[in-house]
Subunit: 138 residues, 2 copies
Amino acid sequence: MSDLLERLRGRGWRMTAQRRVVAEVLGGEHVHLTADEVHSRAVAKLPEISRATVYNTLGELVSLGEVLEVSTDKRAKRYDPNAHRPHHHLVCAQCGAIRDVHPSGNPLADLPDTERFGFTVSDVEVTYRGICPNCAAA
Amino acid sequence: MSDLLERLRGRGWRMTAQRRVVAEVLGGEHVHLTADEVHSRAVAKLPEISRATVYNTLGELVSLGEVLEVSTDKRAKRYDPNAHRPHHHLVCAQCGAIRDVHPSGNPLADLPDTERFGFTVSDVEVTYRGICPNCAAA
DNA sequence: GCTCGACTTGGACTGAGTCCAATGCGGGCT
DNA sequence: AGCCCGCATTGGACTCAGTCCAAGTCGAGC
């Protein structure tokens, strides 16, 4: 994910240890982390990093479009580093597990003009809900 | 919306002034209220009603399937009394306005088996985002 | 009209996130 | 290399939405 760092530098970001750490955490294997999870993983690499900085950095990454905010769960926002490949989410109603999915078809096209009420529609967010195999077995 | 009250009675609900008021508020013209908005409207009709009761009642209505919880906005859950006609939401990214929409086609069908990872998928939630005419004009 | 248990109350509590004034430090300039 | 400016970070207080709980209330079946 050092290409992410490159892109950020290119956008005039001042490169600080904290931002590097947050970017690294998002680049790791775990997807869909909450802000607090990002923070605690970041603390492991850079003990003095503060919660506020993690929130700031995540917010900036989101507004740059490098990271996606998903709120499948009602408790906390989650951050999805996989922002460059459009995808949707499949959530287990029981355990909260999240998977990325790629439906066929474009739901944007399913919204007829008569149902747009003059809005300029730019984005769709689709969340499928169900029971994951683990929870079904239990 | 007194048919709602009927249905609730039929399900063994004890009919209290508080529950009646909450049901009335949801039956009014306003849709997509937050819990706090429901509470303040309820207080107008029944000053002693407590926040806890409003939350309880909303929660019960949701689990009975009479009301839908929507979380388009990251701040607070909103409650949508229009639970009996399946629909999705169109949200203004600027002012937060919400409209109900009825897309053609069923997004559930767009999720191929290969993308279900063994989940039993039972529900989809679609949120369209864009700019409403008002905000576009401003 | 009594009684019992479901319902309500309100205040304390939690968890997620935001704000802000003081301080630190990246990096362009010389 | 060293300075300096201003962007970034810090941490602690604060807000906002929602949950919890023990005590008190009251709907409705008998």
